[in-house]
C-alpha cells in the first residue's frame, strides 16, 4: 500500500528538519506512542498503540532514521508486531523551501499482515491515511508552536 501526502509547515526548513529527526518530537507527534527508547544511533525501540476509535492494537517495534541528508530528506523505517498482526513501512520525507515556509512531502510504502490484513483490509488504507494526516498535523503544530 502506497501513501503520499504534502503539507505546508509555517517554519524554516532547517528548523523543520531538526524537528522531524528529533525522537522526542517524533514521539509526541505519533498519537498512541507510549515509549521510544534509543538502542543505537538513529534507531529506537517503540511501543505503539495504533488504530482508530474502537479498532486499536498494541505494537512493539523499531523506528529507524536512514539516509539522512540534512536539511533535505531522510527515510523513516518502522516495523511493529502485535496481536492484530504486523506493520512494516518506509517513508521518504522530503523538505523544500517555500519562502519562509517549508513544503513537506512524504512517500510511504506500508505492508500490513496477519489478522488485521485478512479482516480489516477494507479499512486499512483509509485508517493509515488518517493516521499519517494526524501525525503531520501534530508535528506541524509542534514545530510552529516552539
Amino acid at each position: 500500500m502506497k501513501l503520499t501526502g504534502s503539507y505546508e509547515i509555517n517554519a524554516p526548513r532547517d528548523k523543520v528538519f531538526a524537528a522531524i529527526t528529533d525522537p522526542n518530537v517524533l514521539q509526541s507527534s505519533i498519537e498512541g506512542c507510549e515509549k521510544m527508547v534509543k538502542t543505537a544511533d538513529d534507531t529506537y525501540d517503540a511501543h505503539l498503540k495504533l488504530g482508530v476509535a474502537g479498532l486499536k492494537g498494541s505494537y512493539v517495534g523499531k523506528v529507524q532514521l536512514k539516509d539522512i541528508k540534512a536539511p533535505e530528506s531522510y527515510t523513516l523505517v518502522m516495523e511493529g508486531k502485535g496481536a492484530p498482526g504486523f506493520v512494516k513501512g518506509t517513508a521518504k520525507i522530503t523538505l523544500a523551501d517555500n519562502g519562509d515556509k517549508t513544503e513537506l512531502h512524504y512517500e510511504a510504502d506500508v505492508q500490513v499482515g496477519g489478522m488485521i490484513a485478512a479482516i480489516g483490509s477494507r479499512l486499512i488504507e483509509a485508517i493509515a491515511k488518517k493516521m499519517a494526516d494526524d501525525f503531520f498535523k501534530k508535528f506541524a503544530q509542534q514545530v510552529q508552536g516552539s
Binding site: 476509535a53 489478522m115 477494507r122 479499512l123 488504507e125 483509509a126 485508517i127 488518517k130
Partner: protein
Amino acid sequence: MIPVAFEYFRPQTINEAVGLLSQKEDVKILAGGHSLVPAMKFRLAQPKTIIDISRIADLSYIRETNSQIHIGAMTTHHLLESSDLLRQKCPLLSETAANIGDVQVRNRGSIGGSLAHADPAADWPAAILALEAELLISGPNNQRTIKATEFFVDIMQTALQPNEILTEIRVPVTSKSVAYVKFAQKASGFAIAGVASWIDKSKNSVRVGITGIAAKPYRATAVEQALEGRPLSADAIAQAARKAVQGADPLNDMHASSAFRAHLAEVNTRRSLELANSR
C-alpha cells in the same frame, strides 16, 4: 475467535449507562454487536469494559410526533425495514434498511449502533444525511441534539464524547420521492458507493447523502445546489450527478480505486435521483 477478557456491565437505564461510561476506562458500548463483536473476536478491538445497553427499556421504538418520526437507537434494522409507519411516512429508511447486510445482521444490528460505529461503508449514514436527521445524545449532565451533518467527524469517528450515548434519531415525514441506490462489495454487502436521495417536489429541493466513497459519509451539496429550484429533467440530473464527489476525497482500497469510486458515485447519484424523481 475468542476475545480478550473484559469487564461486562448490563445497566437498566440510560443514566446508569452514562454513569458507567464516565467511571470506567477503555469502554465500548455493546448495542446489536454486529460490528463490535466480530472485531473483538478477531482481537482487532480489545476494550477493557463492555456496557451492554440491550436491556435498557424503551430504546427500541418508531413513533410519529408532530410531523417528525422518532426512532430509538436500539431499533433493529429489521424493525425499520418492516415498519408500516416508515413505509408510509419515511420510505427512505425502509428502503435503506432492506439493503443492509443479511437477515441475521438485520435481526440483531441496530440503527444507533451502526451510526455510532461510523464505518465509512455503512448504509444508514446516506439516508440520515439526506433526510437532515437530528440525533439525540445523552451525557452525564444533559441531553443534546446534533444535526446529522455534524455527527460524522472522520473515519469511525463521530461527535459523540466518550461519556455520551446516542439515544434517538429524528427524521421528517417525507413523500415517496426518495431512493437508495448502492453498489455493494459482494462478500460483505458493505457499500462501495451508496447514494440516498430525497426530492421535495413541493419546494423543488433535493437532498443527497453519500456513503462508502470517502472516509466519512457526506451530503453532496454541489449536486443539491445544481438542482435547487430547477425542473428535474434527465439532463439536469445527469449534469448535477457529475458533481457527486466534489469536495470529497474518494477512498482507494482493494475493492475499488479512487477513480472507480468517483465513477460509481456519479452513476449511483444519477440513478438514485432518477428513481426518486419517478416515485
